[in-house]
Amino acid sequence: MAAKKSERRDKLQSAALYPLDWLEERSGLVGGLKYFLFRKVPGDTSWWHTLGSATLTAFLVQLVTGVILAMYYKPSPAEAHSSVEHITHDLWGGWLVRGMHRWGASVFIILMFMHMGRVFLFGAYKYPRELNWIVGVLLLATGLFEGLTGYLLPFDQTAYWATVVAVNINGTAPFVGPYLATVLRGGAEIGPDTLSRFYSIHMLLVPGALIGLIGLHLYLVVRLGVSSPPWSKEAAGGEPDDAPPPARSGLVQPGPRAAGVRRRPTE
């Protein structure tokens, strides 16, 4: 009886795993995902190390809500503001999705700065991770540019004059400033093309750049590994604490301590 049951279970299991095996054999994607999710990290990583993933989550929220808002938004001077009002007041759930996008933008920027502060204070930008710091700074700049271009889109008085001021500040950069301002506006003055220009930059150009940079950022994180916090005894070459806190194992796989794969620097 018992043997029969386990036989059925094996059959079920192999049936469930078959599609995954099929995919793995032809693409290696399953193994790649496993490598990404179950790669080794130092034993003393903490909640501070989650700020990067939090930023990524905020970015994904912006991506999804932005795509949905683009279904209803009309980037022309005559219609932009009324379409935003329509989204906010008339359409079902529009207030929520627009609110998520609007406030999520601030969350994204704040999380980027917190993540940056964590990396700085932990010294995690040092060799061999300098390049990832540089990629992160580029991400910060592109993220801020995303905020600048998105600010014009509601096309109310705040949006209009804030953009006038922002473009004119760019215009005061030495030598290239006047040309930079003209490129941003798409003309000598803010005109009908400026709004659609900002819209295109905001929803196509800059998000594309952000996705590419995030890919590079994550690749470098996986390749170089996560750094230990500065108080780590392990990273300082000492023995880890005698009585380590019980490993949180069993969630996805046996904890590193339980499995005995923890690498000591003395090895």
């Binding site: 060799y127 004059w161 001021v165 803010i190």
Partner: protein
């Protein structure tokens, strides 16, 4: 455990203070660009000196090989036997070159027109538009008016602009006007009259460019910007706050007894007032761009306005 190649610690330059000095110099330079030239010069000097020291440190600081005196690279046995160059066929080389060359060519053919289309229209056909503001009789002598008008009918309401207009009376038999742009010379906010605006006396005129609104006002305290407090006198000279120069002005023409606005130009200084004012004019500059003094050297060429 045996040492494997790659287990030795990375060869890093020793810690040094040069980058810190370099950073301080750069900060000094950037702050100086905003506040004063001597500070910028000092910053540049600091950055140069420390940058040079840093670069020297980094380039010379390679630790020597650990044991003994190293042989020069061209003596001693080669570390690795030189690999036989793989046999290469002319056709092979040709295909490689053709792939790279054609790929680059296709890239250029696709990219150039697209980049040109993205960037150039903003610089071309930026002609200024004549704006008809209606008969001169709408502007009493020595009275200020706020005038709003559509600058380019093809662009519609988004090109609505505001000017402050005063009829100065006749100068040598020709009507004279003072026409100030309301664009602040700081970062481009709309400046407001420092005095009462008689909104109830607003008049609407139909002109070739659509509706023109004319509202009497009395700018007793000149013009004030609500954004950051820039203040100007009635002639548009800067008297306080962050603007780098005075208010821009419009050229004008009298055509068949009607006031017609022309191009904008920037003003460095206005001496005197009204019809006898002496205006030191320059090409139109963007807000925040110095039009005189050494700071104006930062903006040598203006794109077409």
């Amino acid at each position: 455990m045996e040492e494997r190649p790659g287990d030795e610690p990375p060869q890093l330059p020793p810690p040094s203070l040069w980058p810190v000095g370099f950073a301080v110099g750069i900060v000094c330079l950037l702050v100086g660009l905003v506040i004063s030239w001597p500070v910028a010069a000092v910053g540049a000097a600091i950055a140069l000196v420390f940058g040079f020291l840093w670069a020297r440190d980094v380039t010379k600081g390679r630790p020597e090989a650990p044991e003994g005196s190293a042989l020069p690279a061209d003596e001693g046995p080669p570390a690795m036997p030189e690999s036989e160059p793989a046999e290469r066929f002319p056709r092979n080389r040709f295909l490689e070159g053709a792939t790279l060359g054609l790929g680059a060519l296709i890239g250029v053919i696709v990219t150039l027109p697209a980049a040109g289309f993205a960037l150039l229209p903003g610089f071309l056909k930026q002609k200024q538009h004549k704006v008809d503001l209606g008969p001169i009789s709408g502007f009493e002598e020595n009275k200020w008016k706020i005038v709003t008008f559509v600058r380019d009918p093809t662009h519609g309401e988004i090109s609505r602009r505001t000017a402050f207009v005063r009829n100065n009376g006749l100068l040598n038999g020709v009507p004279s006007f003072t026409i100030l742009s309301n664009r602040c010379a700081h970062v481009g906010c709309p400046v407001q009259p420092g005095g009462p605006v008689f909104a109830k006396e607003e008049k609407t005129i139909k002109s070739h460019n659509g509706e023109v609104l004319i509202t009497p006002m009395l700018p007793a305290a000149g013009y004030i910007c609500p954004c950051h407090g820039g203040s100007y006198d009635q002639e548009g000279n800067r008297i306080a706050g962050p603007p780098v120069r005075g208010l821009d002005r419009y050229e004008f023409d009298i055509v068949n007894g009607r006031l017609v606005l022309g191009d904008l130009y920037s003003v460095i200084k206005v001496e005197g007032s009204g019809k006898t004012a002496k205006i030191k004019a320059v090409e139109l500059h963007g807000p925040g761009q110095h039009a005189d003094g050494p700071e104006s050297w930062l903006y040598p060429l203006q794109p077409p306005h």
